[in-house]
């Protein structure tokens, strides 16, 4: 099982994400943004949190047009798995791999704390390890996590059960309390919270572990 973690100038959760995948049994390779291809045989690509390119222009905008972005899109188009927390989620919406956009938090403040999330969909490798409507506690740390999408996109997310996680108490103004969404083939997950920061005993919280072990289990049984 191979995971590739993309690294942009300003990524700061890339190593956390690498550790979470490694602990779930993956061989992990870091891939610099200037590369134009992914290593052979990569099963899952992690697009990490952080402040790629200093959040210049818009969060994730420049990363979404960097050389590695083409390989990321091809991987997703081939049906590869992609997990993208926080800035990764912003990058995926900027790439067009997931619908909508993430704008400034409604309260204008950067929010860094652990919040409650409700698991809204378990039909995906990322969320299959949780119970439907289970509440988990996962850290958030963002300034631009206010999810917006047009009515049509929201209707599709709801109708096709592609909302993976909702906030129990929305901290950032996100439409429909959306914290994380899946692609139509359910192999791409973008979310503002950071499961990789709640994935081992030393974190004091392991509610995020099931997400990584879920992907590993799916690949082993495939």
């Amino acid at each position: 099982m191979k995971a590739a973690i993309l690294v942009f100038p300003g990524s700061n959760c890339d190593r956390d994400l690498a550790v979470a995948f490694r602990n779930a049994g993956f061989d992990v390779q870091m891939v610099w943004h200037k590369e134009t291809g992914l290593p052979d045989g990569v099963d899952v690509v992690g697009v990490p949190g952080g402040f790629s390119y200093g959040d210049y222009l818009r969060c994730g905008a420049i990363a979404a047009r960097s050389p590695i972005a083409g390989a990321l899109k091809s991987h997703a188009d081939r049906g590869g798995y992609v997990f993208a927390p926080c800035n990764g989620f912003q990058i995926l919406t900027e790439c067009g791999l997931l619908p909508g956009a993430l704008i400034r938090n409604a309260g204008l403040k950067y929010i860094c704390r652990t919040i409650a999330l409700r698991v809204e969909e378990t039909q995906s490798v990322f969320t299959g390890g949780y119970d439907l409507h289970q509440t988990i506690r996962i850290p958030i740390a963002h300034h631009d996590g206010n999810y917006v999408a047009d009515d049509e996109a929201l209707a599709r997310l709801r109708g096709d059960n592609l909302v993976a996680f909702r906030y129990v108490n929305t901290p950032n103004g996100a439409m429909d309390d959306i914290a994380g969404i899946l692609s139509p083939n359910r192999r791409v997950l973008g979310m503002m919270p950071h499961p990789e920061r709640a994935a081992e005993a030393a974190h004091g919280n392991t509610d995020g572990t099931a997400l990584f072990t879920g992907v590993a289990r799916a690949l082993v049984s495939a």
Binding site: L57, A61, R65, E94, A101, R104, A106, G107, V148
Partner: protein, 75 residues
């Protein structure tokens, strides 16, 4: 040649920063400010002969996120 691109959040997309500026203006005693929208002004220094179509392409591909933003080009 120079061109300016003005990028604004689309009508209907809540602009929390504009709202905060509106409140601050009210707190300073400026009454009657009914709305504030905050956007971006991007100045481009371009080779002569760059067409508006090319500038539009720059806007669509990078300068604006057309999911949430609209843009206006001034040459």
């Amino acid at each position: 040649m120079k061109a300016k691109v003005v990028v604004m959040l689309k009508d209907g997309v809540l602009d929390p920063q504009g709202e905060a500026v509106r409140h601050a203006l009210g707190a300073l005693g400026f009454s009657g400010v009914e709305g504030v929208r905050q956007g971006k002004l991007i100045e481009l220094d371009l080779a002569d002969g760059t067409t508006e179509t090319e500038i539009r392409d720059m806007c669509e591909k990078l300068l604006a996120n057309t999911v949430i933003e609209s843009y206006r080009i001034e040459v």
